[in-house]
Each structure stands twice: as structure tokens, then as C-alpha cells.
Symmetry: C2
């Protein structure tokens, strides 16, 4: 393993000074044949500029952290792609960190931010409390949040209106003839859980609501497995109460897939016996049987916006994107449309 080639060695090889070498390779103001000589020397030696040296000097790492609750959720994977697509052409790499839903590990990620290992952080937290906001505002590096708006605290945020998104799903189901709805939510002390709950409560309390609501069942997590379990609990409750549920609004696609599975395990057909809607419009939701009716929250667009906001904060972009809010949009597919009535 030949030891690493430094700029110093390139300079020696080219027979010129260190400064000229640096200028010839990156900077400005070097004569054509200086550039030529240095390039040749660098190529012969296989020179690669050392990242730590540049970082220390330039005070920039060209690394952006993407901190999410759960990288297993396809929504975050899609956002990651979108963010990567925007930042990569500007020479930034992405560091992914999974903060989980525990406040403690989120705090650990945040407090490690000021060691300068990244130039900025795009964070999509599940839970936001006072301590979290305090840490976030105390941070030295640019922060862009995805989710609940922290603009009041001076933190750039990309948000969406998931509450009215849930309203879209409720209206669609009622229009499709459903008369007995329930809501399957994730933990309600999370930002999405809280917003989506509000959306459901508002929708079923609206004057035009022509059906009955059997209320909400809360799953332990926004995952398929938690969805299966909670859906069974919900359906058991309905049976016990003598209610014949004909639709479940799920707080996201993973939970909706769980509902479909639980329904199947009980011999219920989706959508004929039970209509189901999801949220996030994930690719997997489009591919499962039946394909999920889902409320798109513009995952890719939100990721892009967050990345563009970050570029603006880093001074890489002349002007920040105009609006940083993405509206919900209903995608009707098989899981909510009865074959015939």
C-alpha cells in the first residue's frame, strides 16, 4: 500500500512551488504551461486531494446529513433519492442517520452536529418537543426540517397539509358509498400522527359528512406489522360493538398494507367488504394487491424542495425556492373502489 500522495509531492515532482500547484489544480491565475506541468505530475503520481486538509482549510465538508426517524420507511428512501438528485450535482454527499423515534437518539444526532462534520442537516423528525427545538435552534449549521413547520423558530421547513389529505380520503370513501368509517393512525404524539388525527376528526365532524365514524385505532408504529396488529384490534372492537365497518382510512401506506393483510386473515375482501385508503402514495402501495388508493403528499417534491432550501442556505443557489409547501392529492386505485354494487 503506497502511502498517499500529497500536494507537496506533486509540487516537488513538477518542480514548482506548493502554492502554484494548488492554483494550477483548482484555483485561478496559473499560466497554461504551469497547469500543464502540474496536471502531468499529478496524473503520474495519482494525486488525490485530501478531504480533511481541504475541510480544515475551507471549513466545508461538502457533506449534508439526512436525519430521519426510520430509513425502513419507503417515504424516506424516496426523499433520499430526491435530495441526492438535487445535491449531488453541486458536489455534496449525503450522510444518512436514522434517529429512531426516541427523543434521546435525536438529541444525540443534533448535539453532534456542531463538530463541523457536515455542512448542514435536513431532518424529518417524528416527534418534536421543546428540548428538540432548543437543540435545533442552537445548532451552528444550517437546518432544514421536513414536517411540522418550525418557521416560527427560524428554521426553514418544507411542509404539507396531511390533515386535509386525510379529509380527501374520507370524502372519497363516503362518495364511494361507505357508511361506516374508522381511522387507523400511528402514534398520536408524533407530528404526522397528530396532524392526520386532526384531519380525520375535522372531516368526520364536517356538516356534509354523511356516514358514521367508529373512531380511531392507534397503532404502535407507522409500519406494516403494527398495522396488522392494530387492524385486528379495530375489527375486533367493531364486531364487539355490533358495527359493520365498511372502510378504514389508514394514516400511511404501510399501515394500509397492514389493514389489507388483517382483513384477508379474517376472510374479508378488500375493497368489497372493506374499503381501505393509505397515504404517501408509495411505489409498493401501487404494486400490492389490491393497489392502494392513497393520498400523495408529494414525497419527491418535498425532498427536492428541502434540498433546494439547503442549497440556498449554503449560498450555492441564487434564490431559494418560492414556496415550500406541497399540497395533498388523492390517487384512486383498487383498494377503495368496489367492483360492482
Amino acid at each position: 500500500m503506497s502511502s498517499r500522495v500529497t500536494l507537496h509531492e506533486v509540487a516537488k515532482r513538477a518542480g514548482v512551488s506548493l502554492g502554484s500547484t494548488s492554483r494550477a489544480l483548482h484555483g485561478t491565475g496559473a499560466s497554461p504551461d504551469m497547469v500543464e506541468r502540474v496536471r502531468a505530475a499529478a496524473a503520474e503520481l495519482g494525486y488525490r486531494p485530501n478531504a480533511a486538509g481541504r475541510q480544515l482549510r475551507l471549513q466545508r465538508t461538502h457533506l449534508i446529513e439526512f436525519a430521519v426517524a426510520d430509513i425502513g420507511n419507503p417515504v424516506y428512501v424516496e426523499m433520499l433519492s430526491a435530495i441526492h438528485g438535487v445535491l449531488s450535482p453541486h458536489g455534496y454527499r449525503i450522510v444518512v442517520s436514522s434517529i429512531g423515534d426516541a427523543a434521546a437518539s435525536a438529541a444525540r444526532v443534533l448535539s453532534s452536529l456542531d463538530d463541523g462534520h457536515v455542512d448542514g442537516v435536513i431532518i424529518s423528525p417524528l416527534r418534536v418537543d421543546a428540548q428538540f427545538i432548543e437543540l435545533l435552534t442552537a445548532t451552528q449549521v444550517p437546518v432544514v426540517a421536513i414536517g411540522r413547520s418550525l418557521r416560527a423558530h427560524g428554521i426553514e421547513t418544507v411542509s404539507t397539509d396531511s390533515a386535509s389529505g386525510i379529509g380527501l380520503a374520507v370524502t372519497h370513501l363516503v362518495d364511494a358509498g361507505c357508511r361506516s368509517l374508522a381511522f387507523l393512525n400511528g402514534p398520536t404524539d408524533t407530528t404526522p400522527g397528530e396532524h392526520r388525527q386532526r384531519g380525520y376528526d375535522t372531516a368526520v365532524a364536517a356538516p356534509g359528512f354523511q356516514a358514521a365514524s367508529f373512531g380511531t385505532q392507534v397503532a404502535d408504529d407507522f409500519t406494516v406489522a403494527a398495522g396488522v396488529e392494530a387492524a385486528h384490534a379495530l375489527l375486533d372492537r367493531a364486531v364487539a360493538a355490533g358495527v359493520r365497518l365498511d372502510a378504514v382510512v389508514a394514516a400511511n401506506d404501510l399501515l394500509a398494507i397492514g389493514v389489507v393483510r388483517a382483513a384477508r386473515e379474517r376472510g374479508l375482501s378488500v375493497p368489497d367488504d372493506l374499503a381501505v385508503t393509505g397515504m404517501d402514495d408509495t411505489e409498493i402501495g401501487r404494486m400490492v394487491q389490491p393497489a392502494l388508493t392513497s393520498v400523495s403528499l408529494g414525497t419527491t417534491r418535498r425532498g427536492q424542495l428541502a434540498a433546494e432550501l439547503m442549497l440556498a442556505r449554503l449560498g450555492e443557489s441564487p434564490e431559494p425556492p418560492q414556496l415550500a409547501t406541497v399540497g395533498p392529492e388523492l390517487k384512486v386505485r383498487e383498494s377503495s373502489v368496489r367492483s360492482e354494487l
Copy 2:
């Protein structure tokens, strides 16, 4: 935004030298009250050691790159979790880079490795050619590969026997009564595509093979969408040839989900009309309808092994893990088991 606190300022505040300050915080050989004073000063000032400074001095970044073909594939997400689980307690962060399946971008990732921005790379390439191997062996940083064994080139590799894994699926289908099988593979110029193809060809050529093979259909990619398209092409071919296919072995779970979807679009029931098996044993495969029979390749275990191998290469671990091969294991679920015959 108060500018960053440096060790120098902490030293001044504590009224001691720079060296003593450093020793008191991290190193050895500092008196109790020196530690006390320095700690207090650091706390008051909110000192955070600067990453670039340490990196430059220590020649370590505490960053490991995880380079995968497609982060959208749940297999890689699962590996990422596993790797993170092993490396995180040792103070390492993970940088994820999606190299795609183009040789060019893989080359770009590899050749950017020698700038010292990471301490090592765990790479799971889809395609491996001579140039790729050359770049990989020329790299200054420790490399651990997941996939095709590169041990012959001096590169630590975690491998599995996906070929005989496909054999497990074929045997299972024949035992379950299937008499006309086909293989739905991903691109065959990739490592997994090549290995799995070999596994299928070997299995159907074995003396004990009691069924007919309708051959292989190659999808453009290892994704659900590509699987849907290729499955339709395969089923069309079978119809044209007057063959009544009763089983499809898919090269991974995503393709298998595509097969299930295509079958459904044609009014075929899975598993009654068509039995389907996948590979990788992903969570989503377990949750879809019908739940996928799949060959586990020990994704989590392979990720852990790769991480442990990396720790050993970094000198963080006394001894490397004994074996770095994970055997395939068949998980029988609904997609291949006919309700009744």
C-alpha cells in the same frame, strides 16, 4: 450565531496550555484537577471538538461508506440497518452512496475513495468487471464487498450461495406438485443475475427434476415494475407456445411481487393457477397478498458480517468473524402452497 469554540479558547479560559487541554479531554496523563478545570471551561463555552481538525491530525474520519446499486431495494435498507447496528457503537457514521448499475458511476465512487473522506467502504455492486476490480484493488482504504467473492483479488467478501438457493425454490415447487416451471431473472450480466441463472439451470438439469422447464425470462431490472412487464411477456410466450405454466421462480422478492401483480391482471390466481417464489425474504414480501414464499439469503447477517469484517480491517476488533458466508434458507408461505388440490 456565535462562532465556533476551539480548543485554544478552552485552554485560555482554563488558564492552561493547549496540550494539557487536549490531554485532559481525551488523552491520558492529566491530573485530576486539570481534568476538572478543563472540563468546566469546555462546558461553560459549549466546546465541541472539530471533526476536520481531528481528521487531519489522526488521519481518520470515522466514516464508512456503504455503496449500493439501488437504495430503493429493501434488501439494502435492511443491510444498512445491520451495518449501522454494528458500526455505530464503535463511533462510526455511515455514508450511503447509490452507485446505480452503470459502471461509470461505480467508477466515480471508487476513484473518489482515495481522498480520505472515509475510513473504509462496504460495497455491494450489481456488476463487476475488470476495470471495477482494478479500481477496487488500487484503493487505499479498506474494502469489504458483499456479493460475488473477490477474495482471489485480496478483497474481503461476504458471500452467499444464491445459486443453490434457487435450487431450493425449484425443488420445493416440484415437491408441491408443479410440473411446468419458468424462471424470471433480472439482468444476467449482473452478479446476482448470473448466479441465480446458474442455480436455475443446474436445478432443472438435475437427474431428479420431475417437471418441465419453460426457460428464463429476463427483466430489465430487479424491481417490481420490471417484474410486471417481464411476467406479462413470459406468460404471453407460454400462451403462444401452448404451455400451461404452473410456477414461476423469481430471482428476488420485488420481481416476485411483479409476477403476482401481472398474474392478477390476467385473472390468474396465485398460488392456485400459478405458484410463485421470491428470494431475499424481505419484510414486504411477507406482508403482501399472498405472502411470498422466499429464499432467505440472510440479509441482516450478511450486513453484520460485512461490518465486522470492516471493524477487523480497521483494527477495531481483535479478530475477524470466522466465516463470511451465509447459507440460503427456504421460507414457505402462501404464494407457493395451493389451498387444496
